[in-house]
């Protein structure tokens, strides 16, 4: 048997109070695309961060082509032939796309000046494989999340590395972008690169990987040949139990809770009208950039509407700030968790309580006992892991941060919940929990809007779906008419429909 390209040997990593990895060992051959699967907090990112020199292991070693390597910092890792796409976008918004891609090892002229043109040309080449429309000279901050993620991928491709580690590279990407990425990855593998691919989207992993290594609570529970096992089997290895396949159940009543008429923003949303019922889950589908996030922000009071009116329970309300919206019973679980969701240095409990401080402080002083009790209760409900309510939220995995944000609105007694991509970066187990949670909320009489680019998610959850296109509601589909083709047909602007048809099962966005 040939020497594996990449070998982890007994890797352990301890953080204060948490053992993130224990004795992780497995190897990846040259030209292999290895899936790395596990629930939130299983330790996938930690392992890859060790591989890319960001963390140092507490014990164990990494071997490349059979030789132990010291990966003390990102530069050493790069020198050893490792390129990595990080889960959290690691970019400098003030610099241009090309500058970001060459950051840390710029191309120079005469060893003094940055060869800007040359960088932009090479960046454009690398980007072309996935999204040729990204302008390498544009400031990175002006790009949308999805485009930024593509830049991050393209950056890793520049390095001509022997090992490419991808930590949820597609969390913001559309299926068509994923298709192109899949081709790129296959190309890498043909060239003998070892690829480690982390994703919570099992269909992607099944689509491009030969084998997958599955982790749970910091240990490897096994490596499987994906051709031999079912998704269900993999999932049960990940979560340690069988996940029941749940069916959609509707709790919608006829009582109109929220009524939106002619809502528009100055920029992206035009004349949106719809009704939301008590106990209803309303899905919003559409292409990336169709204005869904913007619509939710209007409803959450985060942006100001330029016209239109909103009624709750028949009473017109003004949504001039998130405070107003919250008072009216509306809460937003935002799309970009790190930027808009969490206060990194504060604990889980405090992050949870932020929107309902008034409730916890009826006489001016915060009742910490009550706050702790409610936090414990809500966090148990969302199954926070590890269950450390006083730990700063920044030390939790993305999925668990998301749970805390959902808990925030549960604690605030919100009646209308707006979810923007609620399961982005969230594992199958937690995803099922969140779906379940959303249903429970609906059953309790909450009204829910879910924006999602994953059509199966929309179909799984929604009683009714609005399809948005270019800032307007292109169609409203009832449960009976819900299927991916129907949504796609309305979401994609007519001229592109032809091209869009080609994309089979998940032709979503």
């Amino acid at each position: 048997m040939p020497v594996p390209r990449l070998q982890f040997e007994g890797i352990s990593k301890e953080f204060p109070a948490v053992r993130a990895l224990s004795e992780v060992s497995f190897s990846v051959g040259a030209g292999e695309i290895r899936g790395l699967l596990g629930e939130n907090g299983a330790g996938k990112s930690t392992l890859l961060r060790i591989l890319s020199g960001v963390y140092r292991p507490t014990a164990g070693s990494v071997l490349i082509d059979g030789k132990p390597v010291t990966l003390n910092n990102p530069v050493a890792a790069r020198a050893a032939g490792v390129a990595m796409i990080h889960q959290e976008l690691q970019q400098v918004p003030q610099l241009s796309v090309a500058q970001n891609m060459f950051l840390g090892h710029p191309l120079t002229r005469g060893a003094i000046f940055v060869a800007r043109r040359e960088q932009e040309r090479r960046a454009a080449e690398a980007l072309a494989a996935i999204d040729p429309t990204i302008d390498p000279a544009a400031p990175l901050g002006s790009l949308k999340v999805a485009q930024r993620q593509i830049v991050e991928i393209a950056r890793a491709l520049l390095d001509r590395a022997r090992i490419v580690a991808m930590d949820e590279p597609t969390s913001s990407l559309t299926p068509s972008e994923f298709e192109r990425l899949a081709e790129v990855i296959a190309g890498l593998a043909r060239d003998g690169v070892a690829v480690v691919y982390v994703s919570h989207k099992l269909d992607e992993v099944f689509g491009i990987c030969q084998r997958a290594t599955i982790m749970r609570d910091g240990v490897v529970v096994g490596s499987v040949d994906l051709a031999q096992v079912s998704e269900k089997a993999v999932v049960s290895m990940m979560v340690g139990r069988e996940l029941a396949q749940e069916q959609h159940r509707s709790h919608a009543s006829s009582e109109v809770r929220l009524s939106v008429r002619g809502l528009a923003s100055a920029t992206k949303v035009h004349d949106v009208s719809f009704e939301l019922h008590r106990g209803e889950v309303l899905g919003i589908a559409g292409l990336v950039g169709s204005g869904r996030t913007e619509l939710l922000r209007l409803l959450a009071g985060a942006d100001r509407a330029s016209s239109g009116m909103v009624e709750i329970d028949g009473k017109a309300i003004k949504l001039s700030s998130p405070r107003n919206a919250i008072a009216a019973g509306i809460g937003l679980v935002p799309e970009e968790r790190k930027r808009e969701g969490i206060v990194p240095l504060r604990s889980i409990s405090n992050n949870m309580a932020l929107a309902s401080m008034g409730v916890f402080a009826p006489r001016g002083l915060i009742d910490h006992t009550r706050l702790k009790r409610v936090a414990a209760e809500k966090m148990k409900r969302v199954n926070l892991r590890p269950f450390l309510l006083d730990r700063p939220i920044r030390l939790f995995s993305g999925g668990n941060q998301q749970k805390a944000i959902i808990g925030r609105w549960l604690a605030a007694g919100t009646r209308i919940l707006l979810f923007d991509e609620p399961t982005r970066g969230i594992d199958v187990g937690a995803k099922a929990e969140i779906y379940h949670l959303i249903e429970e909320l609906a059953a309790e009489g909450h009204s829910v809007i879910v924006v999602s680019s994953e059509l199966p998610e929309v179909i799984r959850l929604a009683d009714r779906v609005l399809v948005m296109r270019d800032g307007t509601v292109a169609a409203e589909l009832d449960r009976a008419d819900l299927n991916e083709q129907a949504i796609a047909a309305h979401a994609i602007p007519q001229s592109e429909t032809q091209a869009g048809k080609a994309q089979g099962h998940r032709a979503g966005a």
Binding site: P322, P334, E340, G341, P344, L345, P386, L388
Partner: protein, 325 residues
């Protein structure tokens, strides 16, 4: 299951850390080291009288530093505390000299502090200017107003009754020290126990997220600057009570001492972090140092050197006790 036992075991420890953080312990160690050094070098350093002196001499800076801490936690900075104090002082004082009843004159002084803070806060929160540069601008502006108002002259002859308010003693402790201790307690309660404290930490920690969570960003910031202004006015009252006169140039460079105290105490100028206990310890460290150096009769150039080095040393000690990151 294991999760639950684990976390209940971890609870009391976490609770304790919550109340007296590692960071504050680091600052405390810094203070103890400095006290020990001076105690060894200066005879009579630990005399009760001298210790009270240190507290009294630290009280004004502590008062300002508490306000500064709140502003810093909210992600801002207030360079205008000295001139705010001066403006408040000269206006209160001239009312007192004109025979206005004490409560009214004091209230006027506090009102000035609040208005100065309000202006800073509005420029930062509503207009969206950088706090450093806003308060750099008002630093000059408020000072100029104080000078113009008095024509540059001190306001002398404050009534003895007024001076007694801020200048007395209670249980052997100077009133100024007691007042500042009460202020510190209130600040601690605000930060740890009230929604406003939580809002400050959230706004400084991640403004965008705080906004989405319904935190009243602008009001929180403005309130922080107003508290800072109010405490500057309080410091001014204490000082003019002590001095018996109010000068328009009072409060020169106060901002640097206040920032130093807050920073030594663990406030991060990036926002979202800071501690009332730490700030008080920071102010006492600075006060102790001055007192000790004077008692050792260190020449002023070397005192300046020592001031610089001790600020650096305090930060280093803190860094070491707390570990990296």
């Amino acid at each position: 299951m294991t999760d639950i036992t684990e976390h209940t075991a971890a609870r009391p420890m976490a609770e304790f850390l919550h109340r007296f953080s590692v960071r504050d312990a680091g600052t405390l160690i810094g203070l103890v080291v400095i006290l020990a050094v001076f105690g060894a070098l200066v005879p009579g350093f630990f005399a009760e009288r001298n210790l009270i002196n240190i507290l009294q001499q630290s009280s004004i800076n502590a008062c300002l530093a508490l306000g500064m801490t709140l502003v810093i936690i909210s992600g801002g900075i207030d360079l205008s505390v000295g001139p705010t104090a001066a403006l408040s002082a000269v206006i209160s004082a001239s009312m007192l000299v004109a025979g206005v009843p004490f409560p009214l004159a004091i209230a006027a002084g506090f009102a000035i502090g609040l208005v100065c803070g309000l202006l800073n806060g509005v420029l930062v929160a509503y207009v969206g200017l950088q706090p450093f540069i806003v308060t750099l601008g008002t630093l000059s502006t408020y000072r100029a107003l104080a000078l113009i108002y008095t024509g540059g002259n001190p306001v002398l002859g404050l009534p003895a009754g007024f001076r007694a308010i801020f200048n007395g003693s209670l249980f052997g402790l100077p009133l100024a020290v007691i007042i500042v201790a009460v202020v510190a307690l209130i600040a601690w309660i605000i930060l740890k126990k009230t929604p406003f404290g939580e809002y400050l930490l959230a706004v400084g920690g991640n403004e965008e997220a705080a906004y989405i969570a319904g935190v009243p960003i602008a009001r929180t910031k403005i309130a922080a600057y107003m508290i800072s202004g109010l405490l500057a006015a309080l410091a001014a009252q204490i000082l003019i009570g002590r001095l018996g006169a109010a000068e328009p140039i009072l409060g020169n460079l106060w901002e640097l001492d206040a920032i130093a105290a807050a920073a030594i105490g663990g406030a991060s100028l990036m926002g979202g972090k800071g501690s009332v206990v730490g700030t008080i310890l920071g102010a006492v460290i600075l006060g102790t140092m001055r007192n000790g150096l004077t008692l050792m009769n260190v020449q002023s150039f070397y005192q300046l050197l020592a001031t610089g080095l001790i600020i650096l040393a305090a930060m280093l000690i803190d860094r070491v006790t707390r570990g990296r990151g």
